[in-house]
C-alpha cells in the first residue's frame, strides 16, 4: 500500500528539528481538539447531553466494541488485521446460549465465551503464522465460517434464556454514584493494562519494531510469528469477553448479533491514529477516538438522527480527519522545499 512503498523511505535523514507545526499536528492533539468540539457542539444543542446518567448510559453502547478495539490496536500495529471479530462474538454468544440451554451456571457461561473466543483466535493465528497467509483474506474467510456456523445452528431462531446473573454482568454497575457500568470499567482497566504493555515494556517495543520492519525485527531475534499468534489469540479473547458482556446486556443471541461491528472497530482504531501500515500509534489516541466516536453517536441519537445517517457523518469524520493532516503536511513540505530552492538560487 502507499505507505509501504520502499521508494518513499530511501533517504535516511537526521533527527528533525522541533517545529510548533509538527507538535500541533500530532495525532492525539488533533483528536483532543475534535473531542472538545464534539462535546461543546452537543452540549450547546441538547440540554440532555451533559447529564451524568445519560452519559453513563451511552458508555454501554461502545464499551464492548472498545474492548475489542484494544486488541485490534495491537494487531494493526504489527501490520495485521482481524475482520472476524464480530463473527467470533456471534460464535461465542451461540456457545454460551447452548450451554445456558443445558442449564449451566453463569461462571461456566463466561468461561465458555472466553474459551470459544480464544480458540477462534488461535484458529486465525495458526492459519496466518503457520501457513504464512495474509491476515485480511484469512479473517474474511473465518468471518464467513464463524458467522455461517452460527446461522447453521440458529437458523432463524434466537436464544433468549439466560440466567439473571449474566444479565447483571452486562447491565450492571461497579459504582452507583457516579454510575460506572461494569463493561465501561472493564474497558478502562484493560486500556490501562494495554497502555502499560505497549508503552512501558519490552514486548511493546517489539510490537513497534515488527510493525516498522518485520524482517529487521526477525533478524534482531524477535520471534515475530509467535507474537503474531499471541496477538490473534488476544483478539479472540477480547471478542469472547465482548460476547459475554453483549449477551448479558441484550439477554439474547440472534444470528445477526454484532453484525458489521468489525468495520466500526477498525474505524475507531484508524481514527485513533494507529497507522494501518503498522508501526505507529498510541493507546491514548485510541482512548480519545473511542470517546469521539461514542459521544458523536450518542449526541446525534439524542437529536433523533437515524443510525444510518450517523454512519455518513462518522465516515466523513474518518476520511477528513485522516486526509487533513496528510494534505496539510504535504503542503508544508512543498512550501519549505520551495523556500529552500529559492534560497539556493
Amino acid at each position: 500500500m502507499s505507505e509501504n512503498d520502499p521508494a518513499r523511505s530511501v533517504e535516511i535523514a537526521d533527527r528533525k528539528k522541533f517545529r510548533l507545526a509538527d507538535a500541533l499536528l500530532r495525532w492525539e492533539v488533533i483528536l483532543v481538539v475534535l473531542l472538545i468540539g464534539v462535546v461543546a457542539v452537543n452540549a450547546a444543542i441538547s440540554p440532555y447531553f451533559l447529564d451524568v446518567d445519560n452519559l453513563s448510559d451511552a458508555t454501554f453502547n461502545f464499551s464492548e466494541k472498545a474492548i475489542v478495539a484494544l486488541a485490534m490496536t495491537f494487531l494493526v500495529l504489527v501490520r495485521e488485521i482481524d475482520l472476524s471479530v464480530a463473527a467470533i462474538i456471534a460464535l461465542a454468544s451461540l456457545v454460551m446460549g447452548l450451554a445456558a440451554g443445558e442449564g449451566f451456571g453463569t461462571a461456566t457461561l463466561v468461561l465458555a465465551g472466553l474459551v470459544v473466543g480464544g480458540l477462534a483466535g488461535a484458529c486465525n493465528g495458526l492459519l496466518i503464522t503457520r501457513l504464512n497467509l495474509p491476515s485480511i483474506v484469512v479473517t474474511i474467510g473465518t468471518m464467513s465460517l464463524f458467522r455461517g456456523l452460527t446461522q447453521v445452528v440458529l437458523g432463524d431462531q434466537a436464544i433468549t434464556q439466560y440466567p439473571q446473573e449474566l444479565q447483571n454482568l452486562g447491565q450492571g454497575y461497579v459504582v452507583q454514584a457516579p454510575p460506572i457500568g461494569i463493561s465501561f470499567a472493564l474497558f478502562l482497566a484493560l486500556a490501562l493494562i494495554a497502555a502499560f504493555v505497549l508503552h512501558f515494556t519490552v514486548i511493546g517495543r517489539r510490537l513497534y519494531a515488527i510493525g516498522n520492519n518485520p524482517i529487521a525485527a526477525r533478524f534482531s531475534g524477535i520471534r515475530v510469528n509467535r507474537i503474531r499468534f499471541a496477538l490473534f489469540v488476544t483478539s479472540g479473547f477480547a471478542s469472547g469477553l465482548a460476547a459475554v458482556l453483549l449477551t448479558g446486556r441484550i439477554g439474547s443471541t440472534r444470528p445477526n448479533i454484532a453484525l458489521g461491528w468489525e468495520l466500526e472497530i477498525v474505524t475507531v482504531v484508524v481514527l485513533g491514529g494507529i497507522s494501518i501500515s503498522g508501526g505507529s500509534g498510541t493507546i491514548a489516541g485510541l482512548l480519545i477516538a473511542v470517546f469521539v466516536l461514542g459521544l458523536t453517536t450518542f449526541g446525534l441519537s439524542l437529536l433523533n438522527v437515524p443510525g444510518i445517517v450517523i454512519n455518513v457523518l462518522l465516515g466523513l469524520l474518518l476520511i477528513l480527519s485522516i486526509a487533513t493532516p496528510i494534505v496539510l503536511r504535504k503542503f508544508l513540505t512543498w512550501r519549505s522545499t520551495r523556500k529552500r530552492a529559492q534560497n539556493v538560487r
Binding site: P134, V152, V224, V270, I308, V309, V312, I322
Partner: protein, 330 residues
C-alpha cells in the same frame, strides 16, 4: 508463471465440473440448459464486479465501497427514472456508469493523491454511500411500482436467445480481458503490484494508475447498480449489503493474490462461477440456505491456502520473510 496460473485455472475448472456432476446426480434438474443459463445470469454481476476488484487488488489496493456504490447508484437512477420516465434506457445506463465513475473517482483521488491507505478510504466511503441512499430517498423503499416498464424489463430482456445481462457481462469481460492482457496500461497494473519500486524506476506514474483502477471499479459498480435494481425491482439502503466480501472472495478463489501483481481474468471468472453455483445449488439439493455462508467461508480458506502454495514456486526469494512482508500489509 503463466503455466502455474493456467494449471491453477484448470484445477478450479475441474473442481467446478466435478461439483456440477455431483449436484446433477442428486438433482438432475439443476444441470438442464435453462437452469444452467439462469445460474449464469445470476453470476454476471458478481463476475463483472470481481474483475473490476481484481484490477484494484493487482495494484495492492482494495475497494470495500463497491457494494455501497452499487446500491447508491441503483437508488439514484431509480429516482431519476421515476421523476423522468421518458428517459431512454441507454441514457439510464450512461447515467449509471457516470455516477459510479464519480463515486469511484472520490476513492481514487483520496488513495492516489492524499495517499491514504485504500482500506481506510473505502471503509469510510462505504459508510458514506450507504447513508446517502437513506438520505436521498428519505428512508423510503423504491419497489416495482415506482419504476417504469422499460426500466424494469431491460435486464430481463433477451437478444439472440441470451439474456441481456449475459450479453452486457460478456462485453464487459471481453473489454477487461483486452485491457489487462493486451494494453500497456493493463500490463502496468501487474508491474505496479509486482514491484512498485521497480515500476517507478520504469517511469510508471503510480497515482495515475491508482486513480484509473478505482474509477474503473466505480464505473462497473455503477452499471451493476442499475442492473441489480432493475432485475430485482427494489432499491433501498441495504441492497447488496456485505456483497463486497463475496466479490473479494471470488477474486481470492480465482487465484488473485491479495499482495498484488498476480491474477487472471479466467481465474476470477471461474471464482465467481464457483460461488454462483454454490449459491444456486444449495436450495436445489435441499441443503438449508443457512449453510451457504459457512460453506463459502470454508472455500475461501481452502482457496487462500491453495493460492499460497501455488505462488510459492513463482518467485525466487532469498529471504522467506520477504514474501510475507510484501504480502501482509492490509
Amino acid at each position: 508463471m503463466t503455466s502455474s496460473l493456467s494449471r491453477r485455472e484448470g484445477i478450479l475448472g475441474a473442481i467446478i465440473l466435478v461439483m456440477l456432476v455431483a449436484i446433477g446426480l442428486r438433482a438432475p434438474v439443476f444441470v438442464t440448459p435453462s437452469s444452467l443459463l439462469s445460474v449464469l445470469t445470476d453470476t454476471t454481476i458478481l463476475a463483472m464486479m470481481a474483475l473490476a476488484q481484481m484490477a484494484v487488488i493487482l495494484t495492492r489496493g482494495i475497494d470495500l465501497s463497491v457494494a455501497a456504490n452499487l446500491a447508491l447508484t441503483g437508488m439514484i437512477v431509480a429516482l431519476v427514472s421515476r421523476t423522468a420516465p421518458f428517459l431512454p434506457i441507454p441514457a439510464i445506463v450512461v447515467l449509471a456508469l457516470v455516477i459510479g465513475l464519480c463515486l469511484g473517482l472520490i476513492n481514487g483521488i483520496l488513495v492516489a493523491f492524499a495517499e491514504i491507505p485504500p482500506i481506510v478510504v473505502t471503509l469510510g466511503t462505504l459508510a458514506i454511500y450507504r447513508g446517502l441512499i437513506f438520505v436521498l430517498a428519505g428512508g423510503a423503499w423504491l419497489t416495482t411500482k415506482d419504476m417504469n416498464e422499460a426500466f424494469l424489463s431491460f435486464p430481463r430482456s433477451s437478444l439472440f436467445g441470451l439474456p441481456s445481462l449475459v450479453l452486457i457481462a460478456g462485453v464487459v469481460i471481453l473489454l477487461f480481458a483486452l485491457f489487462l492482457n493486451r494494453t500497456s496500461a493493463g500490463r502496468s497494473l501487474y508491474a505496479i503490484g509486482g514491484n512498485p519500486l521497480a515500476a517507478i524506476y520504469c517511469g510508471l506514474s503510480l497515482p495515475r494508475y491508482r486513480l484509473l483502477v478505482y474509477a474503473l471499479s466505480g464505473a462497473v459498480a455503477g452499471l451493476s447498480g442499475y442492473l441489480w435494481v432493475a432485475r430485482f425491482g427494489i432499491a433501498y439502503s441495504d441492497i447488496a449489503i456485505g456483497y463486497e466480501l463475496t466479490i473479494i472472495a471470488a477474486c481470492v478463489i480465482g487465484g488473485v493474490s491479495i499482495g498484488g501483481g498476480i491474477g487472471s481474468v479466467a481465474g476470477t471468472l471461474l471464482g465467481a462461477l464457483f460461488l454462483g453455483i454454490i449459491a444456486n445449488a444449495l436450495p436445489v439439493i435441499k441443503v438449508s440456505p443457512f449453510w451457504q455462508m459457512a460453506i463459502s467461508g470454508a472455500v475461501i480458506l481452502m482457496a487462500v491456502i491453495a493460492n499460497a502454495r501455488s505462488e510459492k514456486g513463482t518467485l525466487k526469494l532469498i529471504l522467506p520473510e520477504a514474501r510475507r512482508a510484501a504480502g501482509s500489509g492490509p
